[in-house]
Amino acid sequence: MFRIGFIVNPVAGMGGAVGLKGTDGLFDEAVSRGAVPRAPSRAEEAARLLAGLPIHFLACSGPMGEESLARAGIDDYEVVYNVHKERTGATDTIAACRIFAESGVDLVLFCGGDGTARDIYSVLGDSIPILGIPAGVKMYSSVFAITPEAAATILEEGLETGREMHIRDAEVVDVDEESYRRGELATRLFGIARSPYRPGLVQMTKEVYEDPDEERAKRNIALFLREVIEGTPDILYILGPGMTTAAIARELGIPKTILGFDAVKAGELVASDLEERGICTLLADNPRARLVVSIIGAQGAILGRGTQQVTPRVVRALGKENIIVVATPHKISQTPHLFIDTGDAELDREFGDSIQVVTGYMIARRVRMERSLPG
């Protein structure tokens, strides 16, 4: 029996419907503007499709999960966390996740937005896979399925007998709601969770033999980049955040801060977890330098989200031809349109409408870029 920790953030998404761009700290305002909870019904939609599958749910009481399960006709659940207050909050999410972790669930299925994902990740890290049913205002994290049905399908297919659930790395992105409401998007890579996904199905209509295995794809990219880096000992390389760049560091045998920028030259680590100033100093000392970055979050950002250290000044100092983008084929299929958002629109335009992305050993693709920011 597959054990799922199930949690709904009932207030998620309420602000969005009434033009508030997020609900953090604005619940009363949202309610006064006439917002009604939507997460419980989104969760119910997904749960309905899971009824009948061999799943045992560990749930939170009332609107935090129990109600959605009951309405969906699911009876194999137990309530492991009781909501005491009228209004639920982050502390409830965190407390419930601690219980899930102690009870040893196989996966946590949650319904909410980026804030919810962040709270859950803060407890579980990458110890237990998590999957989001989208209900929030902002969903820049890659732990979300596209729709409630999609979330159910991922689980359903993953639970088919004789199949192994496919797990990938998925960024949890933290959006600062204050500035988001002012129309700025200040995101930060909060962490990298593990999340189930539907692998590229080997159907006749699909690109056959695209590597469905993310780990292998990352290794192939890493192998290639190692050869490039070792073949150019006079060039300084700054490796950006994420698991693909981490694989390159592993291949080089150097440590990597998963969320930060680290510099390497001639196979040796030069500096770790660089901020803008540190990068600029290194660039001043190294006439030849390159930046290796991957795609961050579910929206296809190459620069600008989760990579605040790379300011327009840094990009200009580097030169756009010295930016190497790497990503697994799977990642690209999830984010078919990439975009660059350095915070300087003119600079962004200089990148043109497509970019080369290294996707394997000696293999690259040309991928289209969006002009305007999605979301």
Binding site: K206, E207, V208, Y209, D211, I324, Y361, A364, R365
Partner: protein, 454 residues
């Protein structure tokens, strides 16, 4: 205004045109894979029949086509030359566009033009079985067809990614009595060593060639046959260009632009060499030859002009050609027949010397062109061929912009009837626009000497 320009059977060429004596200087000789010394005919005897070895380094300008071979070629030759009236109109171009349609052969491409003589010469010299590689399956099915007509057995190593993409090519080879094995396989040492390194590999033509050569070299009754690249293969394909020239002459036309797709280079060679003769002689100095290749595997546009092996394992002679490196495994584009790291030494030489030029396209833009072609001319072409279609359309559109009334001819090398999964992938937006990161690859390779003595 005619649409189809047809020749009578008695107008089929009786001789192949050999371009070698017309080259400004002789080709660099192929070299022995072990010693690096120029090859002597005996070096090839264990895998090729003598007559083909002779044709490989021949100085005769015209070589007779054996009667038995002609009799079979007449099943589908001469092939039609078609004026693309509807495509021209659709594009609004003043240019004249013609395509030589090789899709009418039983296997559906230009490939049997050489498969038949190759099987014939092997039969003549008492060989019982032929081994070969195939990418998209066009070559494998052509050789299956040809060997069966001469009573030879045939073993085909089919690149794994194509084996999955094109299951009916495999069925065709069965109908013609051949054995088709996905490559890399465990049947050969070359295949085993690739699988050990990478069990999930997509395979490549370079790997499949190693397997087929090894099979032939280790069995005395078996010879190897290559579907492209080599001089004798290009030679056999010259029936295409010779016919085309005559067909155009019957309309008082002569091309300004000659276009073909390039995998190993055979269809482009066979189509263009009879015209290139005029340029080399100096009578058609401005004639423009365009070799079209995929951005995923841009041998002529991004490769190095140097000696390299024709296969992954380094079993074939070293050839002076444009190459991306014999161990390069190109991404699994649908134009499987264009996934080759090298190219015909003669085509390479002509491109290197500026007699011809090469361009490359991404996968989705060539399918855009193939769709346009299918919706105007009707023929659904092979993904390989769609590269030539794309170039012809681009040249025609340039003529429109400049108001030029050029005559454009391209070799329509094969039909796409067994490639519908590729079209499906196009319509479901599953096509990745692969390209070759040449700068990075050069840097990655800078430390590693690849080929001994090169």
């Amino acid at each position: 205004m005619k649409t189809k320009i047809l020749l009578d059977e008695d107008q089929m060429p009786r001789q192949w045109y050999n371009i070698q004596p017309d080259l400004p200087s002789p080709l660099d000789p192929p070299r022995h894979p072990g010693t690096g010394k120029p090859l002597v005919p005996d070096d090839l005897r264990h895998i090729f029949p003598m007559e083909l070895i002779r044709q490989e380094m021949d100085d005769r300008r015209f070589i007779d086509i054996p009667q038995e071979v002609q009799d079979i070629l007449l099943l589908w030759r001469p092939t039609p030359l078609i004026r693309a009236h509807r495509l021209e109109k659709h594009l609004g171009t003043p240019a004249h566009i013609y395509y030589k349609y090789e899709g009418v052969s039983p296997p559906g491409s230009h490939k049997p033009n050489t498969a038949v003589p190759q099987a014939y010469y092997n039969m003549k010299e008492g060989i019982e079985r032929i081994s070969t590689e195939t990418g998209a399956g066009q070559w494998g099915s052509a050789l299956a067809f040809a060997t069966q007509l001469f009573g030879l057995a045939c073993t085909i190593y089919m690149v794994r990614s194509s084996y999955a993409q094109k299951p009916y090519r495999k069925s065709m080879m069965h109908v013609w009595g051949a054995e088709c094995i996905p490559s890399p396989s465990t049947k050969t040492k070359a295949g085993q060593s690739v699988l050990e390194k990478d069990p999930e590999t997509t395979g490549s033509l370079g790997i499949a060639i190693s397997e087929a050569v090894e099979d032939a070299a280790t069995h005395s009754d078996t010879n190897y046959s290559l579907g492209s690249v080599l001089n004798h293969v290009c030679l056999h394909q010259t029936v295409v260009g010779q016919e085309c020239k005559e067909q155009l002459a019957s309309l008082d036309e002569y091309p300004d632009v000659v276009i073909g797709c390039v995998g190993g280079g055979s269809n482009f060679a066979g189509f263009s060499f009879p015209f290139a003769r005029d340029k080399l002689k100096g009578t058609r100095k401005d004639l423009d030859f365009i070799a079209v290749e995929p951005a995923a595997c841009p041998t002529l546009t991004k490769g190095l002009y140097t000696y390299d092996y024709g296969d992954v394992a380094g079993l074939t002679p070293l050839l002076k050609m444009f190459t991306l490196g014999h161990d390069f495994v190109p991404p699994a584009i649908h134009a499987g027949g264009l996934r080759y790291h090298g190219a015909s030494p003669i085509v390479s030489r002509l491109v290197h010397d500026g007699v011809m030029r090469a361009i490359s396209y991404h996968q989705s833009e060539v399918f855009d062109a193939a769709q346009t072609f299918a919706r105007t001319e009707g023929f659904i072409v092979a993904p390989e061929t769609s590269h030539a279609v794309k170039a012809a359309i681009d040249v025609a559109l340039e003529c429109k912009r400049k108001g030029e009334k050029k005559t454009i001819v391209f070799n329509c090398s094969g039909h796409g009837d067994f490639d519908m999964s590729a079209y499906d992938a196009y319509y479901t937006r599953q096509l990745a626009d692969y390209e070759y990161p040449d700068q990075l690859i050069r840097e990655a390779l800078s430390q590693i000497p690849r080929v001994p003595g090169a």
